[in-house]
Symmetry: C2
Subunit: 225 residues, 2 copies
């Protein structure tokens, strides 16, 4: 029952992390995950190599593998760290609030995330696009539950006549897709808009358009029908 000849990296027994966690560990793991975000978000899991991440992180490959035993472990740690934050805007969606204001601020928040955290957006986009082999459970579990909950809120709003009757799931999908588009398909957006309109102002233009679209499209039918 000993481990002589092969010391376990400190990060492996996760439970022990809070007990013995070096300053160096925190710094290096941070460095690595930052580099991993760069690489994974740009090339997907299969298209990324440990050597690339090591180079971006500025350390040797075996050193990376001292902190994360496998490429998969690095990817998993990255997903875990980013996923919670990523769902924050949807979680903030408030049943008690004013529907129009809630939808407006949800769009705005998602658009801000697309602008400020495009790598995180692309990390998930790459993953989902390639069949979500590593996050299937998260999609079918926590994500579905959260969406189910918020969909119920939207359905209640529609029932109360506060917004038009519509499918709440597809409404959420459409907000996701339109906002994340500006992160995931950034190069295409820039190419089409051309140099003159691909500055940071495009996010304001997008926000204006999307609010117009969704607020207009969801305004309740005056006949109540």
């Amino acid at each position: 029952m000993n481990f002589k000849g092969k010391r376990q990296p400190v990060t492996i027994p996760r439970a022990a992390k809070t007990l013995r966690r070096t300053r160096i560990q925190e710094e290096k793991e941070e460095q690595i995950l930052e580099a991993a975000l760069d690489v994974f978000s740009a090339s997907g899991f299969r298209g990324s190599t440990i050597d690339q991440i090591a180079e971006v992180a500025g350390m040797s490959k075996p050193n990376l593998l001292y902190y994360f035993r496998t490429k998969e472990a690095m990817h998993r740690a990255l997903i875990d760290r980013v996923l919670y934050t990523w769902l924050e805007p949807l979680r903030a969606f408030d049943a008690e609030g004013n529907p129009e204001a809630e939808i407006r601020s949800y769009i705005r928040r998602k658009l801000e995330m697309a602008r400020d955290f495009p790598r995180e957006s692309r990390l998930f986009a790459n993953e989902v696009l390639q069949g979500a082999p590593h996050i299937e459970d998260e999609l079918k579990g926590p994500l579905k539950e959260l969406v189910d909950e918020k969909a119920e809120v939207i359905r209640a709003w529609a029932k109360a006549g506060k917004i038009v009757k519509c499918d709440p799931y597809h409404l959420i999908f459409s907000i996701w897709s339109t906002t994340q588009h500006y992160a995931d398909f950034d190069v295409q957006v820039r190419a089409v808009l051309g140099q003159e309109h691909s500055g940071e102002g495009r996010f304001e233009d997008a926000a204006r358009f999307l609010e117009q679209l969704f607020i207009g499209g969801l305004r309740p039918d005056p006949l109540g029908g």
Copy 2:
């Protein structure tokens, strides 16, 4: 000026293709591109291997490389073949038509493509997501020109009060993103909708919602302003 010792694959001198094009060539290139679409759309360029494509195509790797000299050449041929078809719906967008009907049918066509050609959608999504290293020219050239043209049509409609005043580029982006979402993020859509609603009927639900959203959101302001 001879090539002894290394016969040139027939496909290399593209100009000569029309002159001497074997039945076998057509069949095999078809087979290869079909397999390449499978693999590239699922893993992106970097994440795909020639061996994978060879296996799917049911032929040996050197045999693939007889028809396409490099992995890049295969990818390029695939992009070239698919791109034209992919832009067909936007090209069909008619300035003379009724704005509401044109937008409605554009959404429907794009949604049909997401349903019927999800691999093609993912091929481009992978490519753009990873920085569009192989199709930058196509984006900045033909794509931008086509979008510019159609944006002008939409702008004219808005000016004439036929639809609400809005940014035509972001309108096009939002139609792209919402429709392609059902191909590119299919696994996520299925996971969130659950088994009961992830049948083919989801495309009808999506169409209904998106038409509602866009038609409602673009209906001209009755005050005209």
